[in-house]
Amino acid sequence: MTTVSSAEHTRRDFLYIATGAVAAVGGAAVLVPLIAQMNPDASTIAAGAPIEVDLAPIAEGQIIKVFWRSKPIFISHRSKKEIDAAKNVQLSTLPDPEPDSARVKAGHEQWLVVIGICTHLGCIPLAKQGEYDGWFCPCHGSAYDTAGRIRKGPAPTNLLLPPYKFLSDTKVQIG
């Protein structure tokens, strides 16, 4: 078999380019379902609907753990001492400066609602432990204060706040 090479454009060149272009687009299109199938499926997303939590049984000083979207949510009923400790901090000394007022809802300062996952590598911090009496992560030693703010250790940011709102003084909706 011999191939004729020609400086001029031929119909074969056109076929090569057209076929190649269609194959490239087709190949890219095939990647979409192959990649998308790994994202959360419909049932996982449906199970991630908002939840309601009754706050009445939570005593002052108590922290409870509920699950929303497979993530532990800490709901802390803070004591006066804990609130004061969180407020009386020089913001410039914090690795991720946020005033206490940005961590809670106005009028509900006693309730701190945070996602209970260390922002370093995802372990669950232990409550009322560590140097700042907030949370301490046993995995790599991050310490959080009573507003869930990172104070020491490798975690880059404060504990994340889930989307939530107060339905009444004793009922909160998370999600």
Binding site: P40, T44, P72, L121, G122, C123, I124, C139, A155, P156
Partner: protein, 408 residues
Amino acid sequence: MHGNSTYQPQSKIGQWFEKRLPIGGLIHSSFVAYPTPRNLNYWWTFGGILSFMLGVQIITGIVLAMHYTPHVDLAFKSVESIMRDVNYGWLLRYLHSNGASMFFIAVYIHIYRGMYYGSYKEPREVLWILGVIIYLLMMATGFLGYTLPWGQMSFWGATVITNFFSAIPGVGETVVTWLWGGYAVGNPTLNRFYSLHYLLPFVIAGVVVLHVWALHVSGQNNPAGIEPKSERDTVPFTPYATVKDSFMMVAFCILFAWFVFYMPNYLGHADNYIVANPAVTPAHIVPEWYYLPFYAILRAVPDKLLGVLAMFGSIAILAFLPWLDTSKVKSARYRPLYKQFFWLFFAVCIGLGWLGAKPAEGIYVVLSRILTIYYFAHFIVVLPLLGIFEKTKPLPNSISESVLGSKA
């Protein structure tokens, strides 16, 4: 190093077949007539041991898969039923779990041997890089497999490792959700990890073929670090290397069997016999021993993104070793300074492994930082400078001279 074989099958049917598919000739030239340097020592037997271990892991893995269920509610139970109910299930599982450790012991010896004798240098750069790729694939496979029993260490190990990717600026969270198939490590994660754990060993086998192919093109390095010049420098693979490899493989199997039969859980963690609990992180989580040095590097850096980058970088830097080491002399035997730095580096890696198992506090963090800095300095400061300043010893004229003396 090909074309050494003049293989002619004895039988008529063999000749008939060879004419149509010359696989006999390929095997003969690769594993029988293949010339190996006559001075190879026992440190050169670990390539064969590694191939053997890959085979052990694939065979035991395939049969374990016949009894395992990749579901969060059933995985832990199915592993327990393998241990208690399945015929010889305990043996197969202990072979597989300890086999992973043996595989890593062998690969570390294999890598350090390559470093000591300069096996990564010209013309073996591609051979070395393929080895680094195999090592990376082994680490991925080991991690995925450790998740499958769905114990506490499985779950939290998977959580910590997948969270490495959350350090990527901007898209980190999206990537991690995609990896999990949910909002946390869960059933979709376990399912896909099982699928990939089954796939990767065959990918490793494929890269091993390339690794061996590259080896047979450039030929083996040897303790003298000089290339064979004449037939006097080599001996045929069979019987010399075959017997030596087999002997060491049997010796290695004794070590393997000692772990399997006498201390099958010594290298594991008791926490992994507690079923995964997404609400409680174990007080002290550590990875399997073979990841500990890298875990120490991760924890040594006080910044999340930089820590993850340092950890991956500590492995990736191995691929650049052929160009970071500027010395023309391969073997540490003729490099008096490099020999000392090699052992120092070895000690640093052992030290990092020890620190990786310690809690991340106090003096351990300080030591981790010092050793991490030295780890990288070895590659980007010590090795490039040694090539310039080191006064190497004179090399022998040939391999046979290095073995028999100049009279030969």
